[in-house]
């Protein structure tokens, strides 16, 4: 990999700053740093250097007319050139494609195609798609992601059809989406669920439909994105589960689990959980190689979910 010089990185950041320098603007350094990268101090140094740049003959009226005043950049005139954004570089279009892929938009997505077409040099869609795959063909999620993102930005309540993995059924809910997040490639939204009367986190790939209600709401000032999606804290219930010898186990699959040796080469796991239905289904999925020891009510739940599946299969 060819290392780029610091000067090249800095020049790129400075070029990104130029279109933001609109006459009369007072721009917070911290916000500029959010947009173009670097620290506020980096951006302050960039503005200082930009104010020495311009067009021949480099007279004062041909220089970039902005200066740093405390935490603010004051702009007196538009830059002498490059005062509008440049076209996307092919690598930038590729990064957008990867980011959109992470939002459920695969290689055939029309928005991806438009952004690649807008690049300054031909961006080969097939080459980009095969270089970085930021998601596993998450079909059908793009529209849900867009609807939730738009509602989150507009503070608009949403009516969603949501598949509850625990109950195994779809239900209608009205939610006030506060913040979004992506964890291990799966998108979530943290929201106030009016239907449940409490704060909930929803997986976007389990949202069957999402429709704006037209009602706005005020999000809490401390709304936090739902990442990590499974925060493990001391307050959670814990299940004690015995896994038979040879069972495939990892704390990535069972977040927060503590494992210890069990009988006959098996493993005992202490696993935190929120939803009994969720953990019951996962134990049932082990088809006999896992047994809940405690709590007793979870044992009954495992038996019940298995009976329901047998009934669905036409077995009694």
């Amino acid at each position: 990999m060819a290392a780029r010089s610091n000067a090249a990185d800095r020049a790129r950041r400075m070029m990104a700053l130029l279109p933001l320098l609109t006459p009369g603007a007072e721009l917070p350094l911290a916000r500029l740093a959010d947009v173009v990268g670097g620290t506020p101090a980096d951006v302050a140094a960039d503005i200082a250097l930009l104010s020495m740049c311009g067009l021949p003959p480099y007279s004062p009226d041909e220089l970039v007319d902005a200066f740093v005043d405390g935490d603010i950049v004051r702009v007196f005139a538009a830059p002498p050139a490059l005062d509008r954004p440049l076209a996307l570089a092919p690598a930038e279009a590729g990064a957008l494609a990867a980011a959109l892929e992470a939002c459920g938009r695969g290689p055939d997505d029309p928005l991806r195609a438009r952004l690649l077409e807008a690049a300054s040099a031909p961006a080969d869609a097939a080459e980009i798609a095969s270089t970085v795959r930021a998601a596993v063909s998450p079909g059908g999620v793009a529209e849900i992601h867009a609807a939730v993102a738009a509602a989150t930005a507009a503070h608009e309540a949403l009516r969603i059809e949501y598949f509850s993995a625990g109950r195994g059924e779809v239900g209608m809910r009205v939610i006030e989406p506060w913040a979004m997040g992506v964890d291990r490639g799966v998108w979530y939204v943290a929201a106030w669920c009016r239907s449940a009367g409490g704060e909930r986190v929803f997986r976007l790939d389990r949202v069957r439909s999402a429709e704006g209600t037209g009602e706005t709401f005020t999000p809490p000032v401390d709304a936090r994105p739902p990442v990590p999606a499974f925060p493990v804290d001391e307050g959670l219930r814990r299940a004690t589960i015995a896994f038979s010898a040879g069972s495939e186990l990892s704390s990535r699959e069972w977040p927060g689990a503590v494992f210890r040796p069990g009988e006959a080469g098996g493993t005992i796991a202490e696993i935190p959980f929120v939803s009994g239905a969720w953990i019951a289904r996962r134990v049932a999925a082990r088809l006999g190689s896992a047994e809940v020891l405690e709590p007793r009510e979870l044992r009954a739940e495992v038996a019940e979910v298995s009976r329901r599946m047998l009934a669905d299969l036409g077995e009694s």
Partner: protein, 325 residues
């Protein structure tokens, strides 16, 4: 002498502000930053490097040639076109940016940041609360390695690293990197092991001492096969290794909407007249497949081969027997 970044900006402004094409000699004479005492060859090298840097930043220099002299200018294509994005599209991009720019495991964050700065050319762009963690194991280390690997794939440069395979075989590998993919919180590299002449998948988090061949960085070391598709290496948890069984699974009508989301592009989905969907898919590990079916139920049932359903019923009866006491 002027700062190098200052020279680059002055050059960019000069090219953008010129009324017509300008030559290298024009730039040398007009732009502050090119040393007066520089010989022609040194200037030519510096000017070439400067153009490369500006192009990498998205400054699309158009070239016109007249009497063997090149001249450069920026035409309208150099500037961001009006994309006419919808509100939902802008919200998607803003949410993706807000999440992935905070994610140390996203390898293209720098390019994404500049891309978004061009799409939202003001400070009042929406900044919804969002965060991201595509990879959850040592995200910063995975992101750094994935960035180097993505660059090596794009420039077709060979890489070398230490690796311990799942079978416990340790050793150095020289690999032609073909592509990267993310699955369940981990980045994976697909590439050709040069010594073994085999295309392999590597867990990026287990790579050690990664180096990229930096000899002739602009010259590719290899060609990626034209029919290569990274997606073909992304499999579901029951598909590691050679396919042993072709299975058919049914998503009933109530579960049919989840079929496309759950199956991750694997196999073939066939809608049936009763609004259910059949999924025909290759399976390596039948036990793991049954686990997948139960975890993603209800409404997902095996159709064939028959032993799949028989084993599922037997397993569920075991669960009822052990937990129903």
């Amino acid at each position: 002498m002027a700062d190098q970044a200052e020279r680059l900006i002055n050059l960019a402004l000069f090219l953008a502000g010129a009324r017509g094409p300008v030559t290298a000699a024009d730039c040398r004479g007009e732009v502050i930053g090119y040393p007066y005492d520089q010989d022609d060859a040194a200037f030519a090298r510096m000017f070439e490097r400067d153009k490369d840097v500006l192009r990498a930043a998205g400054l699309a220099l158009a070239v016109v040639t007249d009497d063997e002299t090149e001249a450069y200018h920026l035409d309208d294509a150099a500037f961001a076109p009006a994309l006419s994005l919808t509100g939902a599209e802008l919200a998607t991009l803003a949410a993706a940016g807000a999440a992935l720019l905070t994610d140390p495991s996203f390898p293209l964050a720098e390019d994404l940041r500049y891309a978004l700065a061009k799409i939202f050319p003001s400070l009042d762009r929406p900044a919804p609360p969002a965060s991201g963690r595509l990879a959850d194991e040592s995200p910063a280390a995975q992101g750094e390695a994935a960035a180097a690997l993505a660059s090596a794939v794009a420039s077709r440069k060979r890489i070398a690293f230490g690796y311990v395979s799942l079978a416990g075989h340790a050793g150095g590998r020289e690999v032609e990197p073909y592509g990267l993919f993310l699955r369940e919180g981990r980045w994976y590299l697909v590439g050709r092991d040069v010594a073994r002449d085999l295309v392999r998948t590597y867990t990026v988090a287990r790579l050690t001492g990664l180096t990229v061949n930096n000899v002739k960085p602009k010259t590719p070391d290899f060609e990626r096969p034209t029919d290569f598709d990274t997606a073909a290496y992304v499999v579901l948890p029951f598909q590691y290794g050679p396919v042993r069984t072709q299975a058919v699974v049914r998503f009933d009508a109530d579960a049919a909407w989840r079929a496309e989301r759950l199956t991750a592009g694997q196999g073939e989905l066939v809608p049936l007249p009763d609004a259910s969907v059949e999924w025909r898919v290759g399976v390596t590990d039948a036990d793991r497949f049954l686990r997948w079916i139960v975890e993603n139920g209800p409404g997902v049932t095996p159709v064939s081969p028959p032993e799949l359903g028989e084993n599922l019923v037997a397993g569920l009866r075991d669960v009822v027997a052990s937990h129903g006491r």
